[in-house]
């Protein structure tokens, strides 16, 4: 089994797989280590599939805008898999004046960095999506947003990277990193020791513990997120949906089913039994949320529910880039539940960073050491 490479990536989620793919395209030799038995077993397979710019913090907007412009449109052809990418816009819905304020502020901020997003009233919302109830009084509308299939996209990156010679090893849980002559080179797992000239930590929530072994700490915690899917329905609409209240989000898939995600508000205080499992309260709560917006869906049958951990940082945006004080070490973690849509751009830029030392899109605002105490 191969144990040394130019780049060792810790984490076989969409970030790790995409970075491995773009590195392989640049001719790099890569090993990807995945702790669980399956590729893409964390947030990569458990998210709601949004490929969104609107509603994001301005610090991560340049990256996601780059991906939507340059990478997403041709991704299915490139990965030889149907990523089911739809670019039919995102409606972020509001039901109260307070919601209108929140949405207007987000839209103003995004326009400030060049994103086409504007506020529309209830009637215009229903012209775009006639199934929405009269409770919706406004929305932010971003026509270049969309959605895709996280499962086929993640596994598509894996398939192509593997085909190009990247070594993937699953069931290989990393316990620590090791420094040799000032460079991070060693990756110690429960079973083996690997070595790379560069090491990328993209292990979601587990990144924190792995980075701690070389004295780096990124303030992040876990937060449970739950999703559900209906049986296939006749085609209704193609937009990605979210709400100002964040009570649910989702879309109709190519298959016809609706995938909706949401929360009960109790996520941070859920019992952590070491498993990612659904709470009995959340899916019914998501259903109640959905039916207020889409009364027509009340008879749609739920066939499956699932849960996943979000790696939440204290300021809501990820840490991406090189660790200055430890040459050879790179991080990409704390995506806060919106890592899917941004992942192609992150992988693409990280591959550039690791290969050339610089990126097309500045990662400065997403530095791992930006966290400061409040006073």
């Amino acid at each position: 089994m191969k144990k040394t490479a130019e780049v060792v990536i810790i984490g076989g989620g969409i970030i790790g797989c995409a970075t491995a793919y773009y590195l392989a395209k640049l001719g790099r030799e890569v090993i990807v280590l995945e702790g669980s038995d399956h590729i893409g077993n964390g947030g990569s397979s458990r998210n709601g599939g949004g490929v969104r710019q609107s509603g994001r913090d301005v610090r991560e907007l340049p990256l996601v805008m780059y991906g939507i412009k340059n990478l997403w449109p041709t991704l299915s052809e490139e990965l030889e898999v149907d990523c089911e990418y739809h670019q039919d816009g995102n409606l972020r819905l509001g039901k109260t004046e307070k919601h209108r304020e929140i949405l207007t502020r987000l839209a103003d901020n995004a326009r400030g960095v060049g994103l086409d997003v504007r506020m529309i009233d209830g009637d215009e919302v229903r012209r775009i999506n006639p199934y929405l109830s009269d409770e919706v009084i406004c929305a932010s509308w971003c026509p270049t947003d969309g959605h895709a299939n996280p499962l086929t996209t993640t596994l598509g990156y894996y398939k192509m990277a593997r085909r190009m010679g990247v070594t993937f090893i699953t069931g290989e849980k990393v316990v620590s990193l090791g420094i040799i002559k000032g460079h991070v080179r060693k990756v110690v797992t429960e079973n083996n020791v690997y070595e790379g000239e560069n090491v990328l930590v993209a292990a979601g929530l587990d990144s924190r513990e792995i980075l701690t072994s070389v004295g780096i700490d990124i303030p992040m915690t876990n937060s449970l997120l739950e999703c559900l899917v209906t049986e296939a329905q006749p085609h209704m609409f193609d937009q990605m949906l979210g709400t100002a209240e964040a009570d649910f989000y989702g879309h109709q898939t190519k298959h016809g089913s609706f995938v909706f995600g949401g929360s009960s508000g109790l996520e941070r205080y859920n019992k952590d039994n070491g498993m990612v499992s659904n709470s009995s309260k959340t899916a019914p709560c998501i259903c109640r949320g959905i039916m207020k917006y889409f009364p027509d869906l009340a008879d749609a049958k739920i066939v499956r529910t699932w849960a996943g951990w979000m790696d939440a940082s204290s300021d809501g945006v990820p840490s991406i880039g090189a660790v200055d004080e430890l040459p050879g070490l790179y991080v990409a973690c704390a995506f806060n539940g919106h890592g899917f849509g941004i992942a192609p751009a992150v992988g693409h830029q990280l591959a550039q960073l690791i290969t050339t030392g610089s990126t097309e899109i500045s990662l400065h605002e997403l530095r791992y050491d930006r966290y400061k105490a409040k006073i």
Binding site: D37, I39, K159, F168, K281, C287, I290, M291, A298, D299
Partner: protein, 114 residues
């Protein structure tokens, strides 16, 4: 149960078979050939096969085809079916209408209104 699994291990080439057109997952209409090809694309666990192809994600949630899929994947990998862990079963047991699922708190006023 985590087992070190090097996905570069040689499992031989994909060899077409006469019955590759046979439907295995009836709900999602996935054929034996598609499942075998997915294994050669690197999908080595039943969870990955399911996420990649949608086998067992239809109305029956895999209650019909999961054993067949397991046998096909095991044969392609050259391992015993017993070594392959089934994909996770998910709530609910049977498809439930949203308006019913939403009513988990029947004594709650808000739920009554739904």
């Amino acid at each position: 149960m985590n087992t070190v699994n090097d996905r570069s291990r040689d499992i031989g080439p994909f060899v077409p078979m006469d019955d590759d057109d046979m439907l295995i997952c009836r709900c999602e209409e996935i054929t034996k050939g598609e499942i075998r090809r997915a294994v050669h694309d690197g999908m080595w666990t039943l969870t990955e096969i399911r996420r990649y192809l949608r086998t067992g994600m239809g109305l029956c949630q895999g209650q019909t085809c999961s054993r067949l899929v397991k046998g096909i994947v095991a044969r392609e990998l050259g391992v015993s079916p017993a070594e392959l862990e089934p994909a996770t079963s998910r709530v609910p047991m049977r498809p439930i209408e949203m308006r019913v699922f939403a009513n988990e708190m029947t004594e709650d006023k808000e739920a009554d209104a739904v």
